[in-house]
């Protein structure tokens, strides 16, 4: 009886931490990296260690969806649907900035019954300028970091249960204008360091490094605890 009460509470209060997830996006020189952990859990129990959270919409647009696993998958299906319709109508791929607006519109439609999902959108925009952004699940606060134009001090976005650790790790490791290889190192180290301090994320990492010419996908082996 007590146990049932507990699990009910867990979903109500900590719905973003029910499955556990972590996503980080980082900008480099004409490239970007987006990385996620691989664990899918039900509260503390680990159910899968190969769960995919980052989805590719086209060669220059990747989206990571953290938060509740079921909402991440459903949201992905809805976004793919909208994007494919756009491709049919416009006969071209969607720009990342446009896509970010689409995601926020789709999320806001459910303002009073939201998808419990925090997306991280990363892409190469016009002239292959890297673009990353994240937003909360009802778009009530919209954080956008454009790689080259605004020259902000922070060029990383984080989401998920280890996001607070990730803020610290990214701040420490990030340098502007990193080449793809160095960017890969930095993102991997920041991700692994942060998920090691989180009970609900981890079991390795899934990293995509995207340059104008190709996309590299790498799987990291991390602590399996």
């Amino acid at each position: 009886m007590l146990l049932h009460l507990f699990f009910l509470i867990f979903v109500g209060w900590q719905v973003f931490e029910y499955n556990g997830s972590t996503i980080v996006g980082m900008v480099g020189k004409n490239c970007f990296a987006i990385a996620s952990d691989r664990r899918l859990g039900v509260n503390l129990q680990t159910v899968a260690t190969d769960f995919q959270r980052i989805y590719k919409f086209h060669d220059k647009l990747l989206v990571g969806l953290s938060g509740l696993g079921t909402d991440a998958q459903t949201l992905y299906q809805r976004l793919v649907f909208r994007h494919k319709l756009y491709q049919l109508r416009e006969e071209r791929d969607m720009k990342p900035e446009t896509f970010a607006n689409l995601v926020s519109a789709v999320l806001y439609e459910k303002r009073f019954g939201p998808y419990f999902c925090q997306p991280v959108i990363a892409g190469l925009g016009d002239d292959d300028k890297p673009f990353i952004c994240t937003m909360d699940s009802t778009w009530s606060s919209y954080f956008m970091y454009i790689g080259q134009n605004l020259e902000l001090a922070k060029d990383c976005v984080v989401a998920g249960s280890a996001s607070e650790s990730l803020y610290g790790a990214c701040e420490a490791f990030f340098k502007p204008d990193m080449e793809p290889d160095e960017l890969f190192e930095v993102v991997s180290q920041a991700l692994l360091a942060s998920v090691d301090r989180d009970c609900l994320s981890g079991r390795g990492g899934h990293i995509y490094i995207v340059t104008p010419d190709d996309t590299k996908e790498k799987i990291l082996k991390g602590r399996m605890d």
């Binding site: 007590l2 146990l3 009460l5 507990f6 509470i9 209060w13 900590q14 973003f16 931490e17 556990g20 859990g41 509260n43 503390l44 129990q45 680990t46 260690t49 190969d50 995919q52 989805y55 998958q73 992905y76 299906q77 793919v80 649907f81 494919k84 925090q118 909360d136 699940s137 249960s161 607070e164 650790s165 090691d196 301090r197 989180d198 009970c199 609900l200 079991r203 602590r223 399996m224 605890d225």
Partner: protein
């Protein structure tokens, strides 16, 4: 989304944990993981949950870190006095009873479960459990009882203790007079394993391997257990502490190579709503 996380960082440190005590022919082996969590944040990833009470009796702690540390400090103090008065090393049963007395008398305030293990010259290796509430449990696996060291019948006890977190914000908002909400963590994954893997009359090597394998299985599945595996072996010769970092632990499920896996015939795992 951020606001509900605040109460977690200030949550009491708890050890969602896996602790094990196993006796073998000649002594006991205590094992534990090393993760201490505050909510879902890992406050200490290399903590030592096996603390010494006397030269021959050790204690595995789980639940609230503060409560278990305080109880173990008190019991160590009482046992020290007891040893001086008695003139010889304290028995495991006395240590377990002291833990039980403290746990039971303060059951409204304490949230900790413990395993006491040790070796004494009267009963040999013994394991006692004191879960939440202050029960004293000595679970023999067989019915035979040993009167001397030479005819020791090994007994078996696996921890029933898990992590206990006290979420005050939760309690206030729901107006429920719950002092604690219990998460049965690492140990739940081990009942079936022990049913299958435990046997009587193990040697020290076998018992240690069993404990390490069990804790690593729980670490693989339980989010609240992790870090390294520590074991303490207590027998008539003394006490040995061992430490198993991640690379020395056996590997499970996701890290094993698939053999004749049915998944090979499935295509990619990501859901594609429209097939082009």
């Amino acid at each position: 989304m951020e606001s509900h996380k605040d109460c977690e960082i200030n949550a009491p440190h708890s050890m969602g944990t896996t602790i094990i005590g196993v006796t073998y022919n000649g002594g006991v082996v205590l094992g534990a993981d090393s993760r201490t969590s505050t909510g879902v944040y890992v406050a200490n990833r290399a903590s030592d949950k096996i603390t010494q009470l006397t030269d021959n009796v050790y204690l595995c702690r789980s639940g609230s870190a503060a409560d278990s540390q305080t109880v173990s400090d008190y019991v160590r103090y009482f046992l020290h006095q007891h040893t001086i008065q008695l003139g010889q090393p304290a028995t495991v049963k006395v240590a377990a009873n002291l833990v039980r007395l403290l746990s039971y008398s303060n059951k409204n305030m304490l949230q900790t479960g413990m395993i006491i293990g040790g070796w004494d010259k009267y009963e040999g290796g013994k394991i006692f459990g004191v879960p939440l509430g202050g029960t004293l449990l000595e679970l023999p696996f067989t019915i035979g009882v040993a009167n001397s060291i030479s005819s020791l019948v090994p007994t078996f006890f696996a921890s029933l203790c898990g992590s206990v977190t006290c979420n005050e914000k939760l309690v206030n908002s729901l107006q429920v007079h719950l002092l604690a909400v219990i998460i049965c963590s690492g140990s739940t994954y081990l009942y079936g394993f022990f049913d299958q893997a435990w046997k009587e009359g193990m040697t020290q090597e076998e018992a240690e391997q069993l404990v390490v394998k069990a804790v690593s299985l729980a670490i693989a599945r339980d989010g609240a257990s992790g870090g390294v595996v520590r074991t303490v072996t207590i027998n008539s010769e003394g006490v040995t502490r061992k430490y198993y970092p991640e690379d020395k632990l056996p590997r499970w499920h996701e890290e094993l190579e698939p053999q004749n896996s049915l998944l090979d015939m499935l295509s990619s795992s990501s859901p594609e709503p429209m097939v082009s």
